[in-house]
Amino acid sequence: MTELNLFIQNQGLALLGPQWWPLVWTLVWTLIKIILLITPVMILVSYYTLAERKVIGYMQVRYGPNRAGFWGILQPFADAIKLFCKETLIPQGAKRAVFFLAPALTLVPALLMWAVIPFSPELILADINVGILYVLAISSIGVYGVLMSGWSSNSRFAFLGSMRSAGQMISYEVSLGFTLVPVILLSGSLSLKDIVEAQREVWHVIPLLPMFVIYFISGVAETNRSPFDLPEAEAELVAGYFTDYSGMSFGLFFLGEYANMILISFLGSLLFLGGWMPPIGLLSFIPGIIWLALKAGFLMFVFLWIRATFPRYRYDQLMRLGWKVFLPISLTWVFLTAVGLHLFGKV
């Protein structure tokens, strides 16, 4: 690998000269790293859609898709081909520029957040020291895709759906943010890597179990998933903010939603379930990335499990839960954690 690297370096220097080569090389190398990160994420997203249909199918004593390839293994590709081939319709009176910007603005933040997710102590695209703040900041951008799509579609259903969705997302972001504060307090760092390292002895889920539960439920609401999928409440709003989207622009919303779900799962296992740490020291011969994958996979399963189990919330109940239940509990826990840390002399 280093030989190859050196070879490329020398060839490049000879070709472009010392002025331009480092610039080009930095850009190309960053691009390669981004592609190496995004490709598995997208494959994971596409297979997560299959897993969803399978899991919910089995919970409803059905099989789920099993025709495209063995065990339905080619179903995501069939879906992708179908979406690509479909005509992209633009509703009359839609604001074209905003209309096409919106799906991109939903997917791009969902992928941007992956940049700071550490898969192991070494495997991380951008190890920035405010990783957790970065994730929160980027996740708050996701609201704009929703709002813009609802507004630009020039349709009541889409507009109502986007209003609901945006209200829901910013409300639950508050409690989501506050559940992370005790984690930051216990770890004493904003870097995701340090937070995982701080769980070497005890996973954060043990002292912060209620926070973990609230984090996960808020995460479900944040990603607009059932039972909080009010923005797309079919019975009332057709499909919510993406009612008027078709073909691949619809597909982008879909990809964004699933990428967000997977991200919430990974983040949850990093922040609360010890990331790549094995549950007991004996099992440390298994590589950390497998532990992380197992934990995130479990949380991803819980997403689907919840969807197969619970009926949809009413909107006022949703808001009540977020502001009157989760927010006070998480604020109290922030306070308790700080007091506990002060009393037991960790700070």
């Binding site: 708050s140 704009y144 945006a166």
Partner: protein, 195 residues
């Protein structure tokens, strides 16, 4: 390295152009969207200046909350642009005065502080901001949070309406706390006896 400079000026140009767009756009929603772009590229400038904490906060607070509320209001309201224009002319002197003051302040501040403290390399800027806020500037900080609290309570008071007397409201905890023994009574009746 000059690459960083190029990126910096690119973002600075985007910021300036978007800011001009905010005031010149004819569509209010586009104005707000451009405002959001301004926030975002400003955050990018902060990142390039190695102030990641400030950048994250700017995105989280201004993009994630404040601008969303702007967008909500602008999307919901049916504003008459012509009326707004007429009013704008009335407010022109005041606006120019405020703008002038701000410009003056900028000039004064920028011309008197060549020695802007460079980003401290040894300690992370999150830590630096925390230390500064909770030691040096503790009282202003607490005062600011108190003002925010007052504003918060004020907003609650303004929007809190007493329901009309006699209006029924759902009491969810009461509903959930109901048990079978309170809700159902089993009565055995022989046929022909009636209830």
């Amino acid at each position: 390295m000059m690459v960083v400079d190029v990126i910096f000026y690119a973002f600075a140009a985007v910021t300036a152009l978007a800011a001009i767009g905010v005031v010149s756009s004819r569509n209010q929603v586009h104005s707000v969207l451009l405002l959001i772009l301004t926030f975002f590229s400003t955050a990018a400038l902060f990142v390039l200046l190695e102030a990641e904490f400030l950048a994250a906060l700017l995105v989280m607070v201004y993009m994630g909350a404040v601008a969303v509320l702007f967008l909500f209001v602008v999307m919901m309201l049916d504003m008459e642009l012509n009326e707004l224009k007429e009013q704008a002319i009335n407010h022109l002197p005041l606006g120019l005065a405020v703008g002038g003051v701000i410009l003056l302040e900028f000039v004064v501040v920028l011309s008197h502080s060549h020695a802007l403290p460079a980003a401290a390399s040894s300690i992370p800027n999150t830590l630096a901001i925390g230390r500064s806020l909770y030691t040096q500037h503790l009282y202003p900080f607490e005062l600011a949070s108190l003002i925010l609290l007052v504003a918060l309570v004020g907003a609650v008071v303004l929007t809190l309406r007493e329901r009309k007397s006699g209006a029924k409201r759902q009491n969810i905890s009461q509903q959930i706390a109901r048990s079978r023994s309170e809700a159902v009574e089993l009565v055995h009746r022989k046929p022909g006896e009636g209830a």
